[in-house]
Amino acid sequence: MWTREEAIRWVLDRHGREAIYVASTGYLSRAVYAVAGPDANVFYMQGSMGLAPAIGLGIALHTSRDVVVLNGDASLLMALGSTHTIRDRAPETFFHYVFRNGVHESVGGQPCARLEETYPGVTAILDVAPGGKPPRVGIAPEENARRIRQALAADSSRAAAGGG
């Protein structure tokens, strides 16, 4: 069992600053922001619970960079079909980590259904303790999207040349 922040640092260190990250709804995005900050290549998906893997896959199909999704357990369950789309379509540059704290922490800590130990389309399940309420993500959604577009535009010609 890790702290949430230890697990976030482990993922960020493993994939480095060149990767593009997508962080899931609620406290997980806040916690990633607290660790990675506004200048990292992180798309802080603060709404649309469950869609972080889909957004990540949509990016990964069109870039040569590693794309890394930080998801929650309840968020995985909300859109479990994505695991099969990932299984069928994701390139090897796509990674999907599920932070398993067993609860909907951002909305009050209510328990969520217990996960299986493995899923298609999930790189690893990381057991973390609920970590409390981090400060809000300090970058506005439109600005966040603009910066991610900019980071991805820098390598679009490379991706096209390599087949993306």
């Binding site: 798309f43 603060q46 949509g58 789309t85 999207a145 679009s156």
Partner: protein
């Protein structure tokens, strides 16, 4: 928002207009549209398990610089209200919706009456409603 009576030739028109990524869930009113998508290079089309996932996939592709399109039956508009409201609109991610319009059978009647108004209420104008000819049975 625009209405068309057939999906014939629509993919060619969208390719001409610069769309390079398509994701969605099949609909009987979009059979030709989807058949045309199947001829594209695989990275240009991902069939989703549900409509919200399609919006997520298309949003990701849009962040990576692609002009992106989501296709769905109007029943699936219920599944995309939150992704449009909490992802696409606040983050400034524009997608084209191609919506197969159904309205005759009991399970389609309510959405068939409100689909365009639902999009208007969301403030989502970038949509093509395919009225089609398959609403009888």
């Amino acid at each position: 928002m625009r209405r068309v009576t057939s999906d014939s030739g629509l993919v060619a028109e969208l390719l001409e207009a610069g769309y390079t990524f398509f994701s969605g869930v099949p609909d009987s009113g979009l059979k030709r549209f989807i058949a045309d998508l199947s001829a594209l290079p695989s990275e240009m089309h991902v069939q989703a398990t549900w409509e919200a996932e399609a919006v997520g996939l298309a949003a990701g592709a849009a962040l990576a610089g692609r002009s992106s399109c989501v296709y769905l039956q109007n029943a699936g508009l219920g599944h995309v209200v939150n992704p449009l409201a909490s992802l696409c609109l606040p983050y400034g991610i524009d997608l084209l919706l191609v919506v197969g319009h159904r309205h005759t059978l009991p399970q389609h009647r309510v959405m068939g009456e409100i689909d365009e108004r639902l999009l208007e209420l969301l403030g989502w104008d970038n949509a093509i409603i395919v009225i089609g000819d398959n609403n009888v049975d």
